[in-house]
Symmetry: C2
Subunit: 153 residues, 2 copies
């Protein structure tokens, strides 16, 4: 995985963290490897449950290309996408999704669907997992630790 992409995703997750959102960041990359869409989780700030990092990155990319079809593009996100996001990725015709860390609660790849189910639901989508160096996990742990201490104070 290209270091620039990993760093951009990490920075986007950090932007979410700073705004007290679950630290998730995503990018859409075109066939030339250029980042054409960036997004980070903004559910609470925008008061909208559809404002996930992946959806926001897709929206930015479609706006840039002036086309809802993101053929030959791929999406990279630090946390396993939820069902809504996986559906949005497939609806946008993105060819490949790469994620770094599983999300046992809401993840819709390894966590809540089997490979056979995924193949049936998204026959054209290539799904990859790149093992995180620990950055995503550390940021998420920090986020939930702060949340817990805020709730108990």
């Amino acid at each position: 995985m290209d270091k620039t992409i990993v760093n951009t995703v990490a920075k986007l997750a950090q932007s979410a963290f700073v705004k007290k959102e679950v630290p998730i960041g995503a990018v859409v990359i075109d066939a030339q490897g250029i980042i054409i869409g960036r997004g980070y989780n903004r559910i609470h700030g925008h008061k909208d449950a559809t404002e996930h990092a992946e959806v926001r990155a897709i929206k930015q990319a479609t706006k840039r290309l002036r086309d809802w079809r993101l053929d030959n593009c791929q999406l990279v996100v630090n946390v396993e996408p939820c069902l809504m996001c996986l559906g949005a990725i497939a609806n946008s015709r993105i060819g490949q999704v790469t994620y770094f860390l599983a999300d046992p609660a809401f993840g819709s790849i390894e966590s809540r669907l089997t490979l056979a189910q995924l193949k049936k639901l998204f026959p054209k989508l290539i799904i990859k997992k790149v093992v995180d160096t620990g950055e995503t996990k550390a940021l998420l742990q920090q986020f939930f630790k702060q949340l817990r201490s805020k709730r108990s104070s």
Copy 2:
């Protein structure tokens, strides 16, 4: 099903049809039965694959309530929701979804998932099907007939 809701969904689907979009309409209804979100399919016009009727209705409802949580609300749509929309419905904490007509290609309820899978993925979501009087089917058939004749001319 309340006649006002059925008529509103039909009108929204008609609005999509007039704009040469697949004729799908959706509403979000609050606990008092008041329509707080309306949406129709706008993928082509807005060049954005996430602009499905259900997502647009959810966005309008969350804007109105100034909250991403649509607890005690329900969503009604004329066509079986896709996976993205079903995910968005669950993410928004909508309690019930009602649809009129199956979508064998993209539908994520009866068409591409089993009841057991749905229960596992969306344990709290109540899913209902109200058999359409034929209006949705007729409008969809008219839409695809026009599309075919346009393509072959």
